[in-house]
Symmetry: C2
Subunit: 556 residues, 2 copies
């Protein structure tokens, strides 16, 4: 069984329970919130009994849902199906993600998921929306498909009965809704506002301890080591990939994603694909066709999808999460928290940039490099053709932590040979000569624009070097510096289909800072609109014509 | 009355209705999705009847909630209270934000908000979770405090009756839940999968038009110009600000936020403050005390809070949205979409960086400069003392679009005189001499660290220049270039309490690119933990000791 504290601010209770159960010396509790202690202000994986970092509210039920789903899906040969218990605060039930998680749990009939809602009436700054009206929570959980049990959260017999009942429910998840009082048993604390997150002064503590009376020693217990289950081992895939395209074919990198992931999934049974009702656009549908039991349709609820993936990762599975890149911003906080949970999740965002065309600005991923690039130790990839997309997807699997691949909506020509090699942190020089004036570093859709620009410039007697920076983070610093050395002017023009700040150009700037090079960033500087791919690349001033103009200005 | 299409992909219907009502020539419909047309793939404010850009799903009910709240709060002297109608798709009801919005609407008894849920069974890639089980939606809306009306969405008489009934409901919002069929009336489209977002071929179109028969001319109507209501005019505040602190006092910039906003709110009746149950941490509680009727408690539901603010902005109010900076990432998609809606929202994120101390990594805002900085035409400010915080807050009000201020948890000394001037895009040189070796550009909490470092270095005979870059975007390019000119080495050390990528340092890099300067970025490069402010600044290597070391290495 697993226990998650979605209300991470109850960390002192979380630690104290484990200490009382003998998991660590009681004295270690004195290190709470101190630098270097594994008992942090909110639970993190530093403390080994923490299954997920919490502290940003409303995420625990999704993570627990991901774990409960995985446990059922693995069909473990244990006597009973392990259960996942999630302690939720009443304040956090206002987070929409909780209801995304509730839909997920009831849709997939996760009766091994038990939500315990601690209704203590008081949030941080005032009473919650519903105070002690427990029926408000009961109606909501019931409507979302949960079996509900309402109890007095201070009555041990009632708690025991509720847990016993919950364990017998079939076909649906369970919510135990408890009426509780903050500071129960201490006259000046009980049910009183203004104490959230405050430590007691010495005299207040003495009075509180006196009022609470002696510790009930019957509550001590010893943590029992459960039978150990070995899950599918994380295995590096050495698949020989089969391509159904050849050099010169027009293929969208998003199409490659589904096909290749399906192949990788043949060898590695721990790969899962999750999607938010756009599987026919991201092409994760090809994985669904090949491995229906390891495809999780998460419907249009991106926050829950990302936290479910964190739950999968915690149980040693390898989740690939796909949707439009723009809609991954919906789960920015969940991605941030997944990194804190030390989860390994592979994200694939399709429909990046203005190159998507007619659907308009709301569907364009133009902040995604910034979002994923900011996370420490993440990787960000953007292949520009089918071959590089396939090999980079395979390379992603080995990455521990957060990895991200941008895929393109439009088809691009297959440029590389089948035996070309690609590595995280690498780049490819596509055009070069002994007399190159400067370097154009492009990524994704702009690689083709850079190549067109190179051809035009070449006809006018201007030689430029073109690099395909398929690895955005880490960017190929050595490759960039080598290009700077090889060109007449120490200039790199970066071209990307992403907003100006936080994108590829900033990685290049940081990489060559100190070399004396000039980095001229070309990126999208205004909100785009509907139109054809070519009209919008031109409007954003990142098409071949704009590159030609920029190069001429720089060489003037 | 107002009408929002939360299901933005129904844009063709949205435009067609206005065309049929005579709001534009029918022929303009032929420009749909073409470059330059105001009829984009999803509605944007380019089309004047669009109240909010939609296309990222699940946001419309929140925006409508913000508008309905504003309308009720303004107590307009109209015969009837204007109503806000929001058309929702069934697929998007899986988004948690819809249920945040539902809680908001019922808590504030917004009976002038009418949700119309179009239950057509089919989402983009497959059937929705609940298909045509309308009772599933009815139970959910009822549980969340809505009056519900279930109808056949193809029966005009039923629709009319439902709208009439909805308009009479008191004390709670209303959801009209309609059973509909996609492609109704066309044999090969009706209720069929695989047609989402697909245009018909010529022969298919001909068949469809034939099956549908002649246009029912009785459905044409003329858009009636409603009586015009003039809302409170946006007025630039020229308040004389009253400070209850003086030079040398220790004051946290977050404390200044609430006090000064309350003062600004005295003169400008269009200022609202919104908070997500952390008003006693962000200090928006001071605005609540002064202007209770213009404070909106949004509880722990940040996505809804941001979209509610977009609704307020649409009705010419000036929303200030505050929570922990870390939790603004929860609403990254809503912030992105607010920019597309041309909304003006002022964000204030408290508890930035590792300097918050013991609460740990989950509560630290370390991605917020990246998040807000990426949005085109946004501004990002970070005052390091109380005086600059006050003046910059006042300066923010005039900004149209997305503006953001980072505020600090720890107290910092008041550095500036009361009559010092601060402008967006400016900076202050705090220490300088004729023989400065290089420049340290700091922002927020690191300003004090830079000053300490300057003192230590000075004692060792090394002169450095220190700048307070309180304006991060736009960064003071001229000021930075002037400092580069004035120092012996062309080096700027940037120090910030933010992750490495997408932060302040990248703005500086971009600003001085091409000048040949070296920019040495000091930023947080790993996930932090619990500890004291000073321990964590040292651990992140952005404290005075780290700065001293960095400067020495650079000068070596």
């Amino acid at each position: 069984d697993r226990l998650l504290f979605s209300k991470g601010h109850a960390a002192p209770l979380f630690y104290a329970m484990y200490a009382v159960a003998g998991a660590m010396p009681l004295a270690e509790l004195q290190t709470l919130r101190k630098f270097g202690s594994r008992l942090e202000g909110h639970p993190t994986p530093e403390f080994p009994y923490t299954d997920a970092a919490t502290g940003s509210l409303g995420q625990g039920l999704s993570i627990g849902g991901g774990m409960a789903y995985t446990i059922k899906n693995l069909r473990l040969k244990t006597k009973k199906t392990p259960r996942v218990y999630v302690l939720l605060g009443d304040g956090e039930l206002a987070e929409g993600q909780v209801w995304e998680a509730a839909n997920f749990a009831s849709h997939y009939r996760l009766n091994n998921l038990i939500a315990i809602a601690d209704i203590n009436r008081l949030a941080q700054s005032q009473e919650t929306m519903f105070g002690h009206h427990l029926e408000q929570y009961q109606h909501r959980f019931k409507a979302f498909g949960f079996e509900t049990i309402v109890i007095d959260g201070h009555d041990f017999a009632e708690i025991k009965r509720a847990l016993d009942t919950a364990q017998k429910v079939q076909g649906q998840p369970v919510a135990i809704i408890m009426k509780t009082f903050k500071g129960k048993g201490v006259s000046f604390l009980q049910n009183a506002e203004g104490w959230h997150g405050k430590a007691l002064k010495k005299d207040e503590l003495e009075q509180a301890l006196q009022e609470l009376g002696p510790v009930d020693e019957t509550l001590r217990f010893n943590l029992k080591q459960p039978p150990q289950v070995t899950l599918g081992k994380a295995r590096l895939s050495k698949n020989h990939l089969v391509f159904d395209f050849k050099k010169g074919d027009m293929v969208a990198t998003r199409e490659v994603y589904g096909k290749i992931l399906a192949q990788l999934g043949n060898k590695d049974q721990t790969i899962y694909a999750l999607d938010g009702d756009v599987k026919n656009s991201t092409f994760s549908q090809d994985f669904l066709k090949a491995h229906p039991n390891r495809f999780i349709e998460c419907f249009i609820a991106e926050q829950n999808m990302v936290s479910v993936a964190a739950g999968l990762s915690r149980l040693s599975q390898k989740p690939f999460v796909s949707t439009f890149a723009a809609f991954l911003t919906r789960a920015a906080d969940q991605i941030r928290m997944a990194a804190l949970s030390q989860a390994s999740i592979h994200f694939v965002g399709s429909h990046v940039g203005v190159s998507i065309g007619e659907d308009g600005a709301s569907q364009m991923g133009l902040e995604d490099i910034s979002l994923f690039g900011t996370i420490p130790q993440s990787i960000v990839l953007q292949p520009s053709d089918a071959v590089s997309a396939a090999y980079l997807l395979r390379a992603m699997i080995a990455h521990r932590g957060i990895s991200y691949m941008r895929t393109l909506r439009p088809k691009t020509p297959v440029m590389y040979d089948e035996d070309e090699e690609f590595e995280i942190g690498g780049s490819k020089v596509l055009k070069s000569s002994k007399k190159d004036s400067l370097t154009i570093a492009a990524t994704g859709i702009t690689v083709q624009e850079a190549l067109k620009a190179q051809e035009i410039l070449s006809k006018e007697g201007i030689s430029v070097r073109v690099i395909d920076c398929y690895s955005i983070k880490p960017v190929d610093k050595d490759g960039l510096l080598a290009s700077l050395k090889a060109t007449q002017k120490k200039i790199i023009v970066t071209v990307e289909d992403h907003f100006e700040h936080g994108g590829f150009g900033d990685f290049v700037l940081a990489a060559v800072s100190g070399s004396g090079a000039i980095v001229a960033k070309m990126a999208v500087d205004h909100i785009s609109r509907s139109g054809t791919k070519d009209e919008l690349l031109a409007d954003a001033r990142i098409d071949s014509a704009a590159i030609v103009q920029k190069v001429k200005n720089l060489l003037d």
